[in-house]
Subunit: 330 residues, 2 copies
């Protein structure tokens, strides 16, 4: 029965009816709007465009890796390398550690030249430190890290193979640049490469480190690195060097085995001559190698022992690039 | 106070005292004898001779290997190879599986040309069977077996390196001859080497078997081999072939991983042309490769599935023979 409204005279009821109807319509629209917001969003791949559907996050974490590239004063090389590395198979994301303090990152330019195969994040640093790249970045979602120097080009074929090798040796640093330490009768260690005498364990040479400037390793080691003695950070900061030697010590201590597995690269290039900046990298400093020997001895003192172990295993890819690269006289 | 003895007259006491003293002396001698027997035995190495002290059994078992070499109708090659292999580092013993039925072994001649670096035992067989070499020989004391065909020469350097690799991958067949199977759309498998198409897992080739005619493997697998389905023995006996394929199936099933690890040999030679016997080995038979494809399919049927897995890992020795064999343009 019609009480309040019906008693009113015609005009007044008309206006109130109008108000009431308006309110009802507005409420209905709001409810409809709310419902629309709750609907699942239409996936991109159902839209009529040719983009491929991105993998779900859990799949990616296990069978992909994150590239971490620290850069200082070589933005031209960085961008050249990013064009190459952004398309490597199994790459999940790129983290650029921006050591150009006070300088804008190329993020705007990067975005304007999109779309890109993978996300790239620029981590702006406050101090130009060598060990900035060894932070435990929250952006890291994968188990595997690929760390590259900002002047090093490794072919996609080499990287795809080395990643598959890392998956078989996940507790090791799997990479392309082997180095070693040697003992001397005085007990003082020296750092070097193949030009240095063999450690004397049977035939041939041995390596006891794989440098992280071109290598895969488990992201867990970045976490571990945050828990090292203060003296380690002080050493790396003092020399602006040796973060890679420290990582090898860390890994060797953790596994009790040789820290690295060396994969012989087919195509690895150093692009530092190609930079316009004129900046040519820390390893050209006169004291670079002496510093590294110094670091080996300091780290032995900090860790109270020499954890590095030797290996002479050199891994290559069977049947690539030459399908008969294992052929022999038999 | 002196009761019983003191009462007796002098002579009786004298005899009884003598008896008592004799008994005491005998008892003391027996006790002394028993104590001497409990003393530790003098070790051999304290004897004045110039031979090197043989390692104790437990040391040898872990860091040495047993060479098992089956031979048929190529005694001249056998003896040439024995001269080479008897001196390989870390060799513990040689077991020659003598498939020359009814023929005397060269044991007498062998002994007359002693001394030899290691013991060599000739196991006389009653039937000429390919699988004779896969018996669980009681003479086997080491964890590692090196199995070699009687026409194959591998350098000591290669063997020493491959043995060290086996020690890092003891559940795999670590050797010098990689082979593969491929699938075909019909589901029928085919057996071959690098001339066969790549299995199509990324770049390059893959191998799924390492042949046991030039390889290290764990002696436990000889034990396992005795427990295979009868049909496997029947297959090997029927073809006088495929024992090595069967071993790869066994190992792959056991580990759930690729059965083999391929070590690229620097110096491997087939000496079959050098034999005076004119006998040139089973692999020259027209049907040899077809038989092996046949075996792959039979074994899949016997084991109700294809356990073989692919690998593209090729291992070489770092810095040997060329101390800079890993050098790159960087």
């Amino acid at each position: 029965r019609c009480f309040h409204f019906c008693k009113l005279p015609g005009r007044v009821m008309g206006i109130r009816l109008l108000r009431f109807t308006s309110v009802v319509i507005i409420v209905l629209l709001l409810v409809a709007g709310a419902l629309t917001a709750l609907l699942p969003t239409i996936k991109d791949d159902k839209l009529p465009n040719s983009r491929r559907e991105p993998k779900t996050q859990s799949q990616s974490a296990l069978d992909s890796f994150t590239l971490i590239m620290q850069t200082y004063n070589r933005t031209d090389l960085l961008l050249k390398l990013l064009n190459h590395y952004q398309a490597i198979p199994h790459l999940h994301k790129v983290i650029v550690v921006w050591n150009n303090i006070g300088e804008k990152t190329p993020e705007e330019m990067w975005n304007s030249l999109g779309p890109h195969p993978v996300p790239v994040v620029f981590k702006v640093q406050t101090i130009n430190r060598m060990r900035n790249r060894l932070q435990n970045f929250p952006d890291l979602e994968t188990k595997a890290v690929l760390m590259m120097d900002d002047d090093t080009l490794v072919s996609a074929h080499d990287l795809a193979f080395a990643f598959s090798v890392w998956q078989q040796f996940p507790e090791h640093i799997v990479g392309f640049v082997p180095r070693k330490h040697i003992s001397t009768p005085s007990g003082v260690y020296s750092y070097g490469s193949f030009e240095l005498q063999n450690p004397g364990f049977g035939n041939g040479d041995q390596y006891s480190m794989v440098l992280i400037g071109a290598a895969f390793f488990h992201s867990g080691y970045l976490e571990d690195f945050q828990r090292q003695p203060e003296a380690v950070y002080a050493l790396i900061d003092e020399t602006q060097n040796c973060d890679d030697i420290a990582m090898n010590f860390l890994v060797a201590k953790h596994t009790g085995k040789p820290s690295g597995v060396f994969v012989k690269p087919v195509d690895i290039r150093n692009l530092e001559k190609d930079t316009n900046s004129g900046y040519s990298g820390m390893w050209h400093r006169a004291e670079h190698l002496l510093q590294r020997s110094y670091c080996v001895n300091k780290l032995v003192s900090i860790y109270d022992g020499m954890p590095l172990k030797y290996s002479n295993i050199m891994i290559s890819q069977f049947g690539f690039p030459n399908y008969a690269n294992h052929k022999n006289k038999m």
